[in-house]
Symmetry: D2
Subunit: 374 residues, 4 copies
C-alpha cells in the first residue's frame, strides 16, 4: 500500500432519491483491496445524464446515489498490489489521471467476445450511475472528495501539459464522439454535417476539423451553441429555427458541389432529427445515429427514400475504454489548436452540487464542473 494513509473520510454529494435534492454526506474511506486505488478528485464533470438521474429517468439506478461518471484528479493511494496503465507502465501515487466510467465490461460474454460489441455487454457497471453507494466500496461517484477505483478500472494518464480543466472539458462527450467517428470513419476532404451542437455534436465537429474535413456544418436551434461551434472551427452553421428543411438541404448541397454531405452525424436527442438526417445526407452517403439515448417514441420515416439513397446507416451505443484513451490523446495532441479549457464555463464547490445540477438542467453552461476540494 502506497500513498497518504491519513485520509479516512470523504465527503460526497448524494441524490437520496429521485427528484430529491442533493445532500452532502460523509463516508469512511474503505480499505484498499489488491488492484484498487483511491482517486483525489480535482474536477468532476456535470453531465446531462446527471440531471436525468436526479429526475429518476433512468432504470436500474440504485439510490441513494453519488453521481459523477466523469472525473479527473490525482492518485492518492494505491492498494496492496501494483497497478498499471494500458501500456504496462506502473501507476504511481501523485499521477494525474482519469478513468473509464464503465468498469467490469466482462470480456467473457457473447457481446464482448463473439459479437465484439462490448458496449452491449450486459454485465457493465458504471461509476456514478449503476453502482450502489450503500455497499462497499461506497465512494463510486465523482461528486466526491475521493473515488474508490475498484480493481479492473481502466485508468488513463492525463499528460502534464493538459490542465484538469482541459481534461474534464470534453466530459463523456468526446469518447462518445470518437466511437461515432470510429464506426463511420471520417477522412480528410469530406463534407460533414452534424445535427446538434450540444456536447457530443460539438465534439464530432471538432473531430471533423482535426481530420481535415472540407466543410463542417453544425445544425442546432441554439445560437450560442452554434457560436461556440464556429469558434471551434466549423465552416457553416444552420439554425433550424431560422430555416426549413428544404432550405437546409439546399444550403448543404451548395457547399458540397451539389451532392449533399458525405456523412451526417446525429447528436440531438430529438427523434425528428433522424428522418431529417436521411433527407440531408447525399446519395450513397453515411448517416450515423448516436443521440437517441432516451426513448422519445416513434417518428414517420420513408423506407423507400432510405432504400433509394443507397445509404450506410450506423447506430452507436455507449463507449469503450479505447474511446476514453483516444479522447485524452486527442485533447493532448490538439491542445494548442483548440481552447478546450474555455468550455468549462461554470465551476462549483461540492456543497453547491445541487446548484450545479440546476445550472446543467437550465442549459446555462457549456461544461459545468464540481471541484470537491475547493
Amino acid at each position: 500500500m502506497t500513498g497518504d494513509l491519513t485520509i479516512v473520510k470523504s465527503r460526497a454529494a448524494v441524490i437520496p432519491a429521485p427528484n430529491a435534492s442533493i445532500e452532502i454526506r460523509e463516508f469512511e474511506v474503505p480499505e484498499l483491496v489488491p488492484g484498487s486505488a483511491l482517486l483525489k478528485v480535482a474536477n468532476a464533470g456535470v453531465c446531462g445524464t446527471d440531471v436525468h438521474l436526479w429526475h429518476g429517468k433512468l432504470a436500474g439506478v440504485p439510490y441513494p446515489l453519488i453521481p459523477g461518471h466523469e472525473a479527473v484528479g490525482t492518485i492518492e493511494r494505491i492498494g496492496p498490489s501494483p497497478i498499471s496503465y494500458l501500456n504496462g507502465q506502473e501507476i504511481k501515487v501523485g499521477d494525474r489521471v482519469t478513468f473509464h466510467d464503465v468498469t467490469k465490461t466482462c470480456f467473457s460474454c457473447y457481446y464482448c467476445l463473439i459479437a465484439k460489441t462490448p458496449t452491449k455487454c450486459p454485465n457493465r457497471v458504471v461509476y456514478g450511475i449503476t453502482m450502489d453507494s450503500t455497499k462497499f466500496p461506497h465512494l463510486i461517484g465523482g461528486y466526491s472528495e475521493y473515488v474508490y477505483l475498484i480493481p479492473g478500472t481502466h485508468i488513463i494518464r492525463v499528460p502534464d501539459h493538459v490542465s484538469f480543466d482541459g481534461a474534464i472539458s470534453v466530459g463523456c462527450a468526446l469518447p462518445t464522439a470518437i466511437h461515432a467517428v470510429t464506426r463511420s470513419p471520417m477522412k480528410h476532404g469530406l463534407n460533414v454535417a452534424v445535427q446538434g451542437a450540444g456536447p457530443v455534436g460539438l465534439m464530432i465537429a471538432i473531430l471533423a476539423k482535426i481530420t481535415g474535413a472540407a466543410t463542417i456544418t453544425s445544425i442546432d436551434q441554439a445560437p450560442n451553441r452554434l457560436e461556440v461551434a464556429r469558434r471551434f472551427g466549423v465552416t457553416h452553421t444552420l439554425n433550424i429555427r431560422e430555416t426549413d428543411l428544404e432550405e437546409r438541404k439546399q444550403a448543404l448541397r451548395e457547399i458540397s458541389d451539389g451532392h449533399g454531405p458525405d456523412i451526417v452525424y446525429e447528436a440531438t436527442g430529438n427523434a425528428l432529427a433522424v428522418p431529417e438526417g436521411i433527407e440531408l445526407v447525399r446519395e450513397g452517403g453515411t448517416y450515423t445515429i448516436c443521440g437517441q439515448y432516451t426513448d422519445s417514441g416513434t417518428v414517420e420515416m420513408n423506407p423507400h427514400l432510405m432504400n433509394r439513397k443507397h445509404l450506410d446507416i450506423r447506430t452507436v451505443w455507449g463507449s469503450e475504454t479505447t474511446h476514453v484513451y483516444q479522447a485524452i490523446r486527442t485533447i493532448a495532441n490538439n491542445y494548442d489548436r483548440f481552447p478546450f479549457e474555455d468550455l468549462v464555463t461554470h465551476s462549483f464547490k461540492l456543497d453547491e452540487a445541487q446548484k450545479a445540477l440546476e445550472t446543467q438542467r437550465d442549459q446555462k453552461s457549456l461544461k459545468a464542473v464540481i471541484r470537491p476540494h475547493e
Copy 2:
C-alpha cells in the same frame, strides 16, 4: 460483320401506352454499328417491374415500349468491329449469352468515379425500361425475337452446362441479391433471416445457403413461396399470417442461441417490413434494405430502438455489371446443387405476352418466361 445476314425483321411485343394491352409489332432490324451485336432471344424473363410498366407506374418510361430487361439467347450477328467479354475474349456468333440490362453507366460522373456508387449514376439507360422503341435501334427490349445490343453493352457468356431456362430462372433477382450480400457480407456460420420469399428474397436465401449460413429463416405470407424456399434449403420459415411479431422475435431468438439473427435482409416491397426488421435483428447486427423500390409512404419507426441496438443498416439500390456476372457464375457453380430450372413454372409464346403479364400480375408463377421463337 459476321453472322447470318438474312434476318431483316423482328417481331416484338409492345406496350403501346400505360394500361393498354400488348400488341405484337414488326420492326426492321437496323444495321449494326461498330461495337454492336444482335441477340436472338431464347428466353425473356417476365418481371414484376414489367407489370408496373404496363400499369404506367414508373416515371421516365417512353411509350410505346418493348418490355423485357432480362433475356438470354445466342449471338446472331456481330457488327463491323470485334467485341469482347469482360475477360477480353472475343465474342463469336452462336455464343450463348446474357447481358447487363443497364447500359451506359457513364463512368464519367461523380457517382461512378468519386462516390463509387455506379447504381446512382444519373446517365444509366436500361433495356426494356428507359429506352425508346420509336428511335434507333428500336429493338431494345427482351419481349422480341431479336435484341439490338448497343455498343458498350456488357455481354456475359452462359456456360455450356447451364440451360437457357437455368440462366433465366434467376432473372434480375439474383444480381440484386448479390448486390445486397456484397454490401452486407455474409460469412459461413451466421444466423440469417430474410423478409420476403419472392424472387429477390429467395435468391438471398439461396446465397445464404451457398455461403454456409448456420440457419436461414424465410419470412413471408405465401405458403407456396415458403415451400419453395424450403426446397432450396432454408432451415426455417415463418408465415406472418400465422404468427405475430413477438412470436417471430421469439422463434428467431430460439434458433440463434438467444440473440436473434446476425443479419436480416429485407426484400418485401412492404414498408412495414422495415420497422419489423429493426425489431428482429440482434443487437450489434446488420439490417439490409433492398426491397423498397416503390414509394409506399412513411411508417412509424423508433429511433431510440435503432440507436440502442447498435446496428449497421445498409440500403441497396440497383445492380451493377459485376452482379450480373457473378449471378451467372453462381448458377453455374451451384447448378447441381439447386434445381434452378424448376423455378421456370410458366412459359409463353411471344403472341401470349399479354397473358404472361397477367400471370405475373396474379402471382401465379415463380418465374414466367417468353420464348419468342416458339
Copy 3:
C-alpha cells in the same frame, strides 16, 4: 461445490525437460477456487506444437510440462461459485465441453483494448504450453486424466450430436483457420488456393468449401494429404514435387478464367511458400500468411512484384476465444456434410503418450489423440 468429490488424484503425462522422454506422474487434484472447474478429459489432441515442446524449441516454456492445449471432455466438478458459458447459461456437472487454451488474455492492455489485436496481448497464458506444472493448480495440460480449468477460462459446450472424436478432430487448426478467413474474408464464388494441406491448410480448404468457393486448390507435397483434401471437397490439387512454379501459376490461371486465385492462404511452415504465394495470387487479390509460426530465416522476395500486383497481404497470429467458439459451431453445423471423425486416425492411452508424440513427429497421423481414461 458440485460434482463427484471422490476424485483426489490425477495421472498426467509430463515432459520432464527438453528432449527427455515423457513420464507419467500422479498429481493431487487441488481444491477448486471460486470460478474454477475440473474437466475429465475424454480426448486430448496431439499437435505439432507438442513435438516442438518436447524438443525444447519454444522459448518461455516451464519444464517439467504437462503438454496438451487441445482437449474435450466432461465437467467433473465445479468450484464454490457458479460458472457460465459465453451466452450466460450456467455450466453444469456432466456437460460435454472444450475450452480456449489461451486464458488470461488480459483485456486491460494496449493490444487488447486499443489495437484490438488480443492475440498480441503480452499477458496471455496457454494451457499445456506456458503454464507451470510445479505450481498451483498443477493440472494445466490436456495429457492428463483431469484438467483444472482456472477462473476466467472460456468454456464452450460441445453439442450433443458431435462426438468427442468429432470435436477434437479439428484441434487448434480450425480456430487458426477461422482467424485467417476472418482477417481475409472468403465469400461465395471465389477462386481460393491454399498452400499446405496439413491441419491448418485442410481446415482453410474446408472453410472455403463451406463458404461456397468456386474452386479450391490445395497445394502440398504429400500425396496422402492432398487425397484427404479431395475427400473434404477441394476441387483441385497441385503437388509441388510434380510441378514447377510456372506450371502451378498456369494451372491456377486456367481454373480462374485467366486471372489466378482471388485469395491465397499460406499454411505451410515453409518460408519459401511466401514468395511463391505472391506469384500465385491474382493482381488485386489477397494473400494471407498464417503458417510462419517458427523462424526459418529470410527468403528472397521482390518488392516490385508485390507493389505491381496491388495486393492486400494479411498476416495472422494466434487465435481468440471467438475462433474456438466458431470452430465448434462450424463442426456442429456441418457435421453431416464432412467426415470429421475420420480425421482421428490414431488414438493412444495416457501411458502411450511418448508414442503419440513420436507418431506426430513422423507425420503418420492425420489427427492423433490421447484418451487418458482408456
Copy 4:
C-alpha cells in the same frame, strides 16, 4: 465548336528516341472531334518518370514522344459537342483546368468492373507516356503549347483561388499519395511514419498532417528533403545516413508510447526499404507499399517476422480519376495552410525542356515546371 479558332500550330518538346536530346517540333493542331477539347498549357510538371522516359527505361513507350503527364492550363477550344465536368456542369472556353493523365480506363474489363481495381486495367492509355505523337491527335503530352484532350478525358476544374503553380506543385505525387491513404486509411491521432521524403512521401506526410496524425516521422537520406518535410509539418525526421535500423526503431517507439508507428507508408523506390518497413511498424499495424514502381530485384525478407507481427500489408499501383479529383480539392481546401507554391523551385521555357529534364535528373529541384508560353 467554341473558342479561338486562329490557333493552328503548336510547338512541342519531343524526345526523338531513348537517350536522345529533346527537340522542339511544330505540329498542326488537329480538328476537334466531338467530345474533345484543346488545352492551352500554363504549366507542365516535370516528373522523375520523364527522366526514365528520356533514358528509355519504360517498356511500351512509342518514340518520338512528347512527354508530360502532368499539366494545368486553360480550355482554348471545345469540339462540336458540349463536354462536362464530373458533376455534370458544362466545361467552357477559358476554364482553368487539369486532367487525369490516364485516359481510356475501359470500364468494360474484369479489372475495372469485377475486381474493381481499375489501375490494373490492361487498356489504360497515358498522356505523355504511352500515346504516340506520330498518330492523331499528335499533341498528347504536356511539354507542348497545346494538348489535345481526347473524348473521355476526365477534366477537373482548378478553383479560382489556386494558382497554376499551386495546382501543378503536387504533380502526380498527390494523387498517388491519396490512393495510398485510401487503401490504408489514416485517421486522426495515429502515429504515422513515411519512408521517403521525395514527392510521394512528402505528399503522404502532408495528408497525415491534414488528417490530424498524432506524430508524423519522415525518413530519408537527403537533409534538404527532410527540411522541406519539416516545413510542411512533419513532427519528426530520421536521416538514414545518420542512424541505423535499431536507432530508428527505438526512436519511433519512443514517440508512440512504446509501440511503434500504427501505419508506415513506403515511398522510396528502394527495395531495401520494404524489409525495414516491416521492422518499423508496430505489431498489428499497417504497412503500405507504393514506391516500388521499378524492378530493382529481390531483397531478403523474414516471413516469420511478417507473420508474428500480425500485419496488414497493402500495395498500391497507379492512380484513378478520383485521386486526381481529390488532389485538386485537397490543395484547394488547404491552400492557406501549406505553401504549395513554394514547391515549384524551378521553371523553364519550352525551349529549355532538355535542361528541365537534367535538373530533375540531378534532383536539384523540388518541383520543376515547363511554361510553354513564356
